[in-house]
C-alpha cells in the first residue's frame, strides 16, 4: 500500500517534470523565434558588406565593423530624430490622457441628453484612417502654419477614440458610491476625475498611456506628410529615409541600414526594460475590463 502510493508519487513527479521540461523547451523555442529578427538586425549592422552578401550567412560577424554606425549617423541625424519623436510622442500621450479622461468621465458618469448617441460618434471616429481624411486635415494644418512644427505633429492626434472607449469601460466599473462620497465632501468634477477615478483605474490609465506611446512612436504616415524638412522628422521616417537614400545600393549597404534600425529600436527596448514592471501590470488588469 505504502509502496504503491510511493510509486504513484514518483510517477506523478516524473510526469510533472517531463511536462515542465517540455513547457520550458517550447517556450524557449518561441522566444528564439521572436528574438531572431532583432538579433539578425543587430549582427547585420556589424558585418562588412562582403560578409553580408555571402551565400552562407554567418550567425556571428567575422569582423565587427562599428563604422556602420558612424556612416549611418552621417547620412541621417538620428539624435535629432529621436528628440523629435520623443517630444511628439509625449505630447500626444499627455493630451490624449487628459482630454480622454474628461471625455470618459462624461460618457460614463455624466448625465446629459444624447450621451449615448454622442458616444457612437466617438466610436465612429475609430473607423476612419488618416490616409483617407488626410487631404482636408493637411489643408487646415497648412493654413495654421503648422507644417514642420510640433503642433502639426501632435494636434491632429490629440484625442484618441480608442482611449476614450477603454477609459469609459473602466470608469463605468467604478461604483457610483465613491463619487457620491466625494461629491458630498464638496469635490468638483476635476477632483473626482483626477483624485478618484484616475487613481482607482491606474492600471488602465497606464495601459492606455503605453498604447498611446507605442502608437505615437510608430506613427509614420502623418509625420512623413507634415514634415517637409529634416528639422522635425521622426525616427520611424529616419530609418526608411536612410534605406531610400542608398539609392538602389541598399543590398550592399544593408549593414548601415540595420545600424539605423538598431538606433531606432534600442532606445525603445531600453525604455521597455526599465518600465516593464509597470507596463505588464498595467496590461494584466486593464485588458479584461
Amino acid at each position: 500500500m505504502a509502496n504503491d502510493s510511493f510509486a504513484a508519487n514518483v510517477r506523478a513527479k516524473r510526469a510533472r517534470l517531463v511536462s515542465t521540461v517540455l513547457q520550458y523547451a517550447l517556450a524557449a523555442i518561441v522566444v528564439v523565434v521572436v528574438v531572431f529578427p532583432v538579433y539578425w538586425m543587430i549582427i547585420s549592422s556589424l558585418k562588412t558588406s562582403e560578409e553580408l552578401l555571402r551565400p552562407v550567412p554567418s550567425l556571428w560577424p567575422a569582423e565587427f565593423r562599428w563604422r556602420n554606425y558612424s556612416d549611418a549617423l552621417a547620412m541621417a541625424p538620428f539624435g535629432k530624430y529621436f528628440f523629435n519623436t520623443l517630444v511628439m510622442t509625449m505630447g500626444i500621450m499627455s493630451l490624449q490622457l487628459v482630454i480622454g479622461s474628461f471625455a470618459a468621465y462624461g460618457f460614463s458618469k455624466g448625465r446629459f441628453p444624447g450621451r449615448d448617441a454622442l458616444f457612437v460618434v466617438v466610436l465612429g471616429a475609430l473607423m476612419i484612417p488618416i490616409q483617407v481624411t488626410f487631404v482636408p486635415i493637411y489643408g487646415m494644418v497648412a493654413k495654421l502654419h503648422w507644417i514642420n512644427t510640433f503642433a502639426g505633429l501632435i494636434v491632429p492626434h490629440a484625442v484618441s477614440a480608442y482611449m476614450i472607449f477603454m477609459l469609459r469601460q473602466t470608469f463605468k466599473s467604478v461604483d457610483d458610491s465613491f463619487l457620491e462620497a466625494a461629491r458630498l465632501e464638496g469635490m468638483g468634477r476635476i477632483g473626482i476625475i483626477f483624485k478618484i477615478l484616475v487613481p482607482m483605474c491606474k492600471p488602465t490609465m497606464l495601459t492606455v498611456g503605453i498604447i498611446s506611446f507605442i502608437d505615437g512612436w510608430n506613427s509614420y504616415f502623418w509625420p512623413k506628410m507634415v514634415t517637409t524638412t529634416p528639422f522635425r522628422r521622426t525616427i520611424a521616417q529616419g530609418v526608411y529615409e536612410l534605406k531610400r537614400s542608398y539609392a538602389g545600393l541598399e543590398t550592399m549597404n544593408q549593414n548601415q541600414i540595420m545600424a539605423g534600425a538598431v538606433m531606432a529600436v534600442v532606445p525603445i527596448i531600453v525604455l521597455f526594460v526599465v518600465l516593464q514592471k509597470y507596463i505588464l501590470s498595467g496590461f494584466s488588469k486593464a485588458a479584461s475590463k
Binding site: 513547457q23 517550447l26 524557449a28 518561441v30 521572436v34 529578427p37 532583432v38 547585420s44 550567412p57 482630454i99 474628461f102 471625455a103 468621465y105 462624461g106 455624466g110 446629459f112 450621451r115 454622442l118 460618434v121 465612429g124 471616429a125 475609430l126 473607423m127 476612419i128 484612417p129 490616409q131 483617407v132 481624411t133 487631404v135 482636408p136 486635415i137 491632429p156 484625442v159 477614440a161 476614450i164 457610483d176 458630498l184 468634477r189 476625475i193 512612436w217 510608430n218 509614420y220 504616415f221 525616427i235 530609418v239 526608411y240 534605406k243 543590398t251 544593408q254 541600414i257 540595420m258 534600425a261 531606432a264 525603445i268 527596448i269 521597455f272 496590461f283 488588469k285 486593464a286 479584461s288
Partner: protein, 309 residues
C-alpha cells in the same frame, strides 16, 4: 444619487440639475469638438469630393454626379475593388486568427509563475513596441529572395528559394509574418492577464468533479475569457482593416495588387494616380462597410459573451 436628488428640490434644484448637465457635457465637449474638426469635417468633405472630378492639384473642378460611383460599381473599378476587399478581409482574418488563437496558445504555454517565464513573457511581448516601418525593413532583409536568411534556412531543408515579397502567392503571407511577429505576444499578454482574473475556485471544483485539463479549459477558461476575446476581436478587426504601414514599406500593394489592401488602394488612387475623386468614393464606401461590420459584430457578440458577474 437618490439621497442627493431628494436633498435638493424645487426650482433651485431644476436649475442646478441643468447646470450639472451642462458641466457634464463640457467634459466631453473638447473631444467632440476635436472629432468634429479632425474626423467628421474631413469625412463630409470626402463624401463631397466623391461627386467631383478633382485631381488634388487643380484649383478648379466640376461636380460630376455619380460618375465615380458608376466607375466603382459598374466600371473598371469594380474588379479591383472586389480584389481589394478580398485582400483586406483575408489579411484581417489572419491577423485576428493569429491574435486570438496564437495569443491563446501562447498564453497557455507561458502561464507559469517563475522568474524565467516572466522574463520570457516580456520578450515575446516586445515586438509590439518596435515601429512597424523599422521592423518592416528588417523583415524585408530577412525575406530577401537572394540574400535573405529565410531562404537560406529553406535551402538547408532542400527547398527552392521563395520570392517572398515579389510573388503574388506569397506576398500577403510575408506581410503576415511580420504582423504575426508583432501581435502574437500582445494577444498572449491580454489573455494571460484575463486568465489571472479567473478565480481558482472554479478549477478546484472542476477538478473534484474529475474534469481533465482539456475539459477545464473548454468549459471554464474559454467561456470566462469571452469578454477578452470580444475585446481583442473588435479592436483587432478595426485596426487590421486599416492596415497600411507594413504594406507601404514592404510591397506598395504589389506584386500585381496581391496586397492592395483598401487603405493602400485609396492612398494610391489619390497620390500616385491623381484620382482623388475616385479615392474619395472608395473611402466613403469603405467607411460604410466598416461601420456596418463593427455594428454587426457588437450586436452578435453582445448575446454570446459571458460576463463573470
Amino acid at each position: 444619487m437618490k439621497a442627493n436628488g431628494n436633498a435638493i428640490t424645487g426650482r433651485r434644484g431644476a436649475s442646478h440639475r441643468k447646470r450639472e448637465k451642462a458641466k457634464d457635457f463640457l467634459c466631453v465637449a473638447p473631444a467632440l469638438a476635436f472629432f468634429a474638426v479632425f474626423v467628421y469635417y474631413p469625412l463630409v468633405d470626402l463624401f463631397r469630393i466623391g461627386f467631383t472630378n478633382w485631381n488634388l492639384i487643380r484649383d478648379d473642378y466640376k461636380y460630376v454626379g455619380l460618375k465615380n460611383y458608376k466607375w466603382l460599381f459598374k466600371g473598371s473599378g469594380f474588379d479591383t475593388w472586389l480584389a481589394s476587399l478580398k485582400v483586406t478581409f483575408s489579411y484581417t482574418f489572419w491577423e485576428i486568427v493569429i491574435t486570438l488563437a496564437g495569443g491563446m496558445l501562447l498564453a497557455a504555454l507561458f502561464n507559469r509563475e517563475s522568474k524565467a517565464f516572466s522574463a520570457m513573457r516580456s520578450i515575446v511581448f516586445m515586438p509590439k513596441y518596435i515601429a512597424i516601418s523599422t521592423s518592416a525593413i528588417v523583415f524585408m532583409w530577412i525575406l530577401n529572395d537572394q540574400y535573405g536568411f529565410l531562404n537560406f534556412v529553406m535551402g538547408i531543408f532542400g527547398k527552392e528559394p521563395v520570392a517572398w515579397l515579389n510573388s503574388e502567392r506569397t506576398a500577403l503571407t510575408s506581410v503576415l509574418i511580420l504582423t504575426g511577429w508583432r501581435v502574437v505576444g500582445y494577444g498572449m499578454m491580454i489573455y494571460l492577464s484575463a486568465m489571472k482574473g479567473i478565480s481558482k475556485d472554479y478549477y478546484e471544483a472542476a477538478e473534484l468533479d474529475g474534469a481533465n485539463a482539456f475539459l477545464r479549459f473548454r468549459h471554464i477558461t474559454l467561456p470566462l475569457l469571452s469578454p477578452t476575446t470580444l475585446f481583442l476581436f473588435v479592436t483587432t478587426f478595426i485596426a487590421s482593416m486599416k492596415v497600411f504601414q507594413s504594406i507601404d514599406v514592404m510591397t506598395s500593394g504589389g506584386p500585381y495588387e496581391s496586397t492592395n489592401v483598401m487603405v493602400y488602394w485609396i492612398y494610391d488612387l489619390a497620390f500616385v494616380q491623381f484620382r482623388v475623386d475616385r479615392a474619395a468614393v472608395v473611402a466613403s464606401v469603405f467607411f460604410v462597410i466598416l461601420l456596418a461590420f463593427t455594428a454587426a459584430t457588437m450586436k452578435i457578440s453582445n448575446k454570446s459573451v459571458h460576463y463573470e458577474s
